[in-house]
Symmetry: C2
Subunit: 766 residues, 2 copies
């Protein structure tokens, strides 16, 4: 005999009108979001249905009593019923339509559409979503997106490597050798020695002296030297920095600031690493403000010597690479004092250790100890206590002491000479951003390959989906990918400008190098942050490389010049250029300039242009370049006006520049954005292979539009675009990310980073 419970069930399942309530009951009990209030809502809904008998209502109420939940079997039965109804009628689209099917098209139920819809709203149920959970997901775009290269990877690699392909391949082959296996010891003395040994191997391969004159055993090839720096950066960044300190900073300082006698004496041994050395510029109290250095080099005419001295603890040399362990000599920057007169900062070669690595008398070396990264580099402090060096140790290309003991220089102004000296060292500001670029490439390769393989979540009941298919993830990795390609071409351009430089271009090139150093290193810092997060816990394990990439490059934004300081320098250069061009045009010129500027602004700001959102326009490279140029010009002109106004109003010049500091940084950034976009566009114009051109063009569009999106506040403020356009650009950025996604893995494969340099994750699926 049936008990009461069984009777109820039978009644319920036989009554087709009641069946209509099944989807609601199922959702109420399976949804983890509903609360008591919603149960009450459903109860009052049932209560208000006049066509239900008191008994039927009672039965339904019993199914939604929190204290007396249905059995698991009940719930499973309901679910089956619903799924069956959907399979029979795949067109059903709402809870109500399921209810109709379950009630076998009962007329009463059919008349209830509006009450059902209201109830769904009251319960906060998105009907379609609830239904979706019962359907198969074959149609999902998100599920179906996958890796599928549209171009030939090797052709892109060839475009990236250009004429440096042979040296790049040579370096890749060297760092792939077993002896270059990563050092995993956390003991920094082990790591430092390993890095030194690696440098030795590179020197033997004639990579260290690549930029030196052939006369001294070098390769006389600056382009190759920078390509070596960049390619080595795929391997270990301590190695790159140690390499750069020895062959770049130490060697190049001798080459740039010294004369023939120094080359003959030192260059060969520096190039073979027989003579490890340092570049001792920064002091504890003076980093960015190099002019304020306090170490002294006092000339003694009687015995033709200089005495190098550290006047107080905070004037010691600090963070000096190669100092703590290996350096035998150093280029020391010190104020030259002759007969009590200060002749500004000059450079001297000072021995630190003998050949047995014993520190010489008068020299005190400290160890900077453990650092956030670059622990394979032995940074240290150096103090000089009245250290005497012979006169010939002065690096005397730009200044010297003559036979009478007088100061001599082809550049009379201390200030001017100082900046000329620094100008010859600009190479460091090319090597570092290129190294940073390589680190971004490595990080993106790891993160994008991981995200293509890593699956998490998926449509209810369907398979999980690669996380690279999610839109946010695409934004986080593919916009950086586009930017990395863009920066690549900008740094190629910088390198070429540096190699081809003439005297009159030096100031511009120094500005460009300072700017792109900041641009590239900040970009890398931001990108590696995204890469770490995109790899989740895997990104936190040291074996997966992002740890080292991130921590080693962290200091790139500081050394070779603090980025914020450099950006101000760039801005000041731009301001000076602006004033000149303004001045040269004369008063008519000024009017003309303002007029032209206004005219172009009007043309670009006409009501159609500022609202133009068709795809062809948004993807048009001319539109991009114009928008970037407009931003660059406008901020520059506005900052110039503002500084002038502040000073006219009585502010000290120094204060006025402090007030506009934020705008100065914006100005430098806008300038660099334009250079980067322009160089990417020029590089693409030269590409012949159609498929390569197509994908690079897409990346360029993504770079351009994502930068505009980032600065949309500015464009809206200026009235250069209206909201309808900035919103269309946001959508287009999303669309471009989606379109690039299938090519993403191929695009990082085109960096052709040796497997041995990448994360261990890709040895097996993740």
């Amino acid at each position: 005999m049936e008990n009461r419970f069984q009777i109820e069930i039978r009644l319920f399942m036989e009554n087709t009108q009641l069946q209509a309530f099944i989807p609601l009951l199922y959702i109420v009990w399976s949804d983890n979001l509903l609360t008591e209030k919603e149960f009450a809502t459903l109860q009052s809904f049932i209560d208000s249905q006049d066509w239900l008998s008191a008994e039927e209502k009672e039965l339904l109420f019993s199914k939604i009593t929190i204290a007396n939940p249905p059995s698991r079997q009940d719930i499973a039965d309901w679910k089956n019923k619903i799924e069956q109804s959907i399979q029979e009628q795949p067109a059903v689209k709402s809870i109500f339509e399921i209810a109709v099917v379950l009630s076998e098209n009962n007329a009463v139920i059919q008349s209830l559409e509006s009450s059902f819809v209201k109830l769904e709203n009251d319960l906060g149920i998105l009907g379609e979503e609830a239904i979706g959970n019962f359907k198969t997901k074959a149609k999902s775009h998100t599920v179906n997106s996958h890796t599928e290269a549209s171009f030939d990877v090797q052709k892109i690699t060839a475009i990236l490597d250009g004429a440096q392909a042979p040296i790049i391949n040579k370096v890749k082959s060297i760092i792939s050798r077993p002896e270059f296996q990563y050092e995993t010891s956390t003991d920094i003395s082990v790591y430092r020695q390993k890095v030194f040994d690696w440098c030795k191997i590179l020197a033997e391969e004639n990579l260290g002296n690549m930029a030196y004159p052939k006369k001294y055993g070098g390769g006389e090839n600056i382009a190759d030297y920078f390509a070596i720096m960049e390619t080595l950066s795929y391997h270990d960044l301590s190695l790159v920095i140690k390499f750069g300190v020895q062959f770049g900073l130490w060697g190049m300082s001798v080459q740039s600031l010294g004369t023939e006698k120094h080359y003959a004496k030192y260059l060969k041994d520096i190039g073979t690493l027989k003579l490890p050395g340092c570049f001792a510029m920064t002091e504890t109290h003076h980093g960015s403000n190099v002019k304020g250095l306090e170490t002294t080099a006092t000339y003694n005419h009687e015995n033709q010597t200089f005495t190098i001295h550290t006047p107080h603890e905070k004037a010691q040399k600090e963070y000096i690479g190669n100092a703590a362990v290996h350096g035998q000599m150093a280029t020391v920057f010190a104020k030259l004092i002759i007969a009590g007169q200060d002749h500004g900062v000059n450079a001297f070669v000072v021995p630190l250790r003998d050949e047995n690595a014993v520190v010489l008398k008068g020299i005190t070396i400290g160890d900077c100890g453990h650092k956030m990264g670059l622990n394979g580099v032995d940074n240290g402090t150096i103090r000089f206590d009245q250290v005497v060096i012979p006169k010939e140790n002065m690096l005397d290309r730009f200044a010297s002491v003559n036979d009478k003991g007088e100061f001599e220089s082809p550049i009379p102004s201390d200030n001017r000479r100082f900046f000329t000296m620094l100008g010859t060292l600009v190479g460091g500001r090319i090597g570092i951003p290129r190294s940073a670029l390589a680190a971004a490439k490595s990080g993106l390769t790891i993160a994008i390959k991981y995200s293509d393989q890593r699956k998490q979540f998926g449509p209810e009941g369907g398979a999980e989906v690669p996380i690279l298919n999610y839109r946010m993830h695409q934004r986080r990795l593919l916009i950086p990918l586009a930017k990395t390609y863009a920066v690549h071409f900008a740094l190629q351009y910088l390198t070429q400008r540096f190699i081809d430089k003439t005297e009159t271009e030096m100031q511009e090139i120094e500005g460009l190098a300072a700017g792109l150093k900041s641009y590239s290193t900040w970009s890398t810092t931001a990108i590696l942050q995204e890469c770490r997060e995109a790899c989740g816990g895997k990104g936190y394990l040291s074996e997966n490389r992002i740890d080292a990439l991130k921590n080693d490059t962290e200091i790139y934004t500081t050394f070779e010049g603090d980025n914020t300081v450099l950006m101000q320098l760039v801005a000041k250069n731009r301001l000076a250029e602006f004033r000149k061009s303004f001045g040269e045009m004369g008063s008519f010129g000024i009017i003309n300039y303002v007029y032209e500027n206004a005219k172009s602004a009007i043309a670009e700001k006409n009501p159609l242009a500022i609202r133009k959102i068709d795809e062809a326009h948004l993807l048009d490279s001319e539109f991009h370049l114009q928008a970037f140029q407009h931003r660059e010009k406008t901020i520059l002109a506005s900052a110039a006006r503002r500084v002038k106004k502040l000073i006219d109003n009585g502010l000290e010049v120094y204060d006025a520049f402090n007030v506009v500091q934020h705008q100065m940084i914006d100005m430098a950034e806008a300038y660099l954005d334009r250079v980067v976009l322009e160089q990417f566009q020029i590089a693409i114009a030269a590409v012949k292979d159609k498929k390569s051109k197509a994908i690079l063009t897409k990346l360029n569009q993504l770079y351009a539009l994502s930068q505009i999106e980032k600065n949309k506040g500015w464009y809206l403020e200026e009235g250069y675009m209206e909201a309808v356009k900035t919103k269309a650009i946001r959508k287009m950025v999303n669309q471009l990310c989606w379109d690039v996604r299938p090519d993403a893995v191929a695009l990082v494969n085109a960096f052709a980073i040796p497997d041995s340099c990448l994360s261990s994750m890709f040895k097996h699926s993740v």
Copy 2:
């Protein structure tokens, strides 16, 4: 007898008309920016001065021949002349005016003003700037700004600590003891053991069991427990995480998911650290998507046991804290299988090691090895090979197996039960953001104190200036400082809501916790990045703590739920709430809602309001809150409409949510921004001390306006503000930074972080 050269000099110095050229000559030779072109410009200027004799022109030309520069003595003489003239006539403001003075008010020179101005322009010289370099700088605002607290530091500390002051002080005193000296060994086994020993000390001080029932030796004080987590975070973050794993994750999982028998058996030993354990949820293939866990717990009715098993390598437990070395037991999350039927994820206590730390049969432990940070925590992997545990080891608060071997649960839906289970573990999402907050406080204390002491650059000839006086530096550190104060009060609010929670509030609180966990941890990551850069090279040395703070908290954005995933969860909750409130109002309600919304939008968007820029308005807390609320409501409504539209147009639900993912994150962010602002405002309203209230109000204004500035693109797009207003806000942010600067050191001192936990930099000046 005079030689030719000496005659020239004499002629030059005697000819007052020629003296007028001294400033130009000096600038040309001392400026490092001028190039050949500019020399040519100056030459043609001289050539065009008809009043000069051929001889005089020749003389002047000889002074600007690049091949034949003036002597250093010449340049020094010129400089003296100029400085003297300025001292005599302090009102001079341009190169021209100096020229007039030097020429002794020669009439010809006086008539040349316009040509001089044009020349200055042509040379790109900013006259005022050049003059400025000769003046003393006593008037400079930038130089004069300095630390000067406007309030009583201890009163702010008291406001921050609130009722938890006693426990906070106790913890601070413990971590200041000599035995808590930082471990500097890079050997992770040494570090892990040290952290374990520290935990032992904390357990002995009854800090570990603070949240457990008194019945089991606990303090039954949840508020104190979270205050302990936060305060410990000033010391070492590996310690905090190890502490959190043991007493929070492991202990609380027993307390929240188990029943009386488990409490009695385990809680006391967990609280004393006699029984170290793990929280084994995450698997290699399933992190964020916990529902997809693959470890199985198969029930065997014959012998009343469960068999725990890892079906394949990628289903192993991963990143499990306490697993690699110390854990003796673990709460293991696994799918419960009874008679072949899957009953969803449940929790089980599984022994891992015996008391001698020997790993038990069937258990395989791996070591996650070296990580980016938190190397004092022994994360590991765990694999189970058919490990049998007794039935009573099931944590059976929400589900159990009855005597007949049947599954039983008060929550019939697997889904619902699963989320209820997870809901009880929400405490982790309070401890982590509070720990992140403490790390931000530490980083800011180090960076702000450093920047107040560190001097670099200054007005020409003047003393160097603390870098905190520079506007960019202020933006980089003081906006984060304001945000950190804001987040502090939001997390206090979250903690209180959690303590006071009722069942109906749980969903909201879970959303709030997930959201603020993301908000706080992302904020900390960004802040510590600024702190590192703000400290330059010093920030890179491990001894200065930013290394550890940054790398240890790096994973906070991933664990306890990936931030991006959590933010989507928050957004989905908000969307569900929105739909409900929408629905309950009925169709009239909907119209009404839209109308009200539009009305308020109109009121706020009236042409006066959107352009209103008076100081009182910009600093008005009501304006701030309205702007935040408007953003929150508008994005929410817009996302809801957009999802619906996409689905109506035939997109799969899953795809539709992917398309709007970016907007979902914005929505969650806008919600959290509003909560944070609101709670900061409420907290300030309760402050009685006037000076404390004043400085907190200023910080609140800075937080509010800097957030609006960050989102200015959105406000402009929506027409909620016009450009004149967003520009005024940018200026006001700069001004607030400037105004807060003198209080900045006092504001970080109010965090009252023990000296022993801060950088070694402050032991001596930097």
